[in-house]
């Protein structure tokens, strides 16, 4: 499995500020309805076509929840 994440815009400051990064992990569950289930549905949809031991590309690692 591969993940990567980077922004080359002014947003990159938010992604490299340790305090902002620490707060990031609690942001999405409060802002995105059903955040945990969204992750779970993504996993189930990928499983429809991926073998048990699969290589999955994750674009945008976020805080590691994907």
């Amino acid at each position: 499995m591969v993940s990567y994440m980077s922004r080359d815009t002014s947003l990159s400051k938010a992604f490299s500020d340790p305090a902002a990064v620490a707060r990031y992990a609690e942001g999405p569950p409060r802002k995105v309805p059903g955040f945990a289930d969204l992750q779970r549905m993504a996993m189930l949809l990928l499983s429809e076509r991926a073998p048990g031991a699969a290589d999955i590309l994750v674009l945008g690692a976020g805080g590691g929840s994907s």
């Binding site: 993940s3 990567y4 980077s6 992604f15 969204l38 991926a50 994750v58």
Partner: protein
């Protein structure tokens, strides 16, 4: 950011390679599937189109791709972002802060309409494009590498 991912992953870390960069920095694969959650709304339309093609090129035929991000009818942007701000406030965020961040989202993110997002997926070489998730201002689709 990747340091946070490392901490979150804990004992799963050995199964995952973390790379900092853009889609062109990812290995060529082929991968058995791909996901891009809450990320593509940062990319303007042309860069999003190019990125989706590059994801498609890294997938085996028939592999699934899942994406979800801000996507709503642009002529109803204010209403959908207000609903998302209300959701954040009901989750415990300061209401004033939630409203302010809705304004920032509208001003700074190159959000596309659901129709535009679906068209980009199809143009990038994905078939059987289906909406699987909708949560106020967020939408999610699954497609199959064709």
């Amino acid at each position: 950011m990747l340091d946070l991912a490392r901490v979150t992953l804990g004992s799963l870390a050995p199964r995952i390679a973390l790379l900092q960069g853009y889609i062109d920095d990812a290995p060529s694969g082929p991968f058995d599937g791909a996901a891009c959650l809450l990320t593509l709304h940062f990319l303007a339309e042309e860069e999003r189109r190019r990125t989706l093609r590059a994801v498609r090129q890294r997938l085996r035929p028939a592999a699934r791709f899942v994406m979800a991000h801000y996507s709503f009818p642009l002529d109803e942007a204010g209403r959908w972002l207000a609903r998302s701000a209300a959701f954040a406030a009901s989750s415990g965020l300061d209401p004033a802060q939630a409203s302010a961040s809705a304004a920032v989202i509208m001003e700074r993110l190159p959000i596309l309409s659901p129709a535009q997002d679906e068209a980009l997926l199809c143009a990038a070489g994905f078939s059987d494009v289906e909406l699987f998730y909708a949560g106020f201002a967020f939408r999610g689709w699954v497609g199959t590498a064709s």
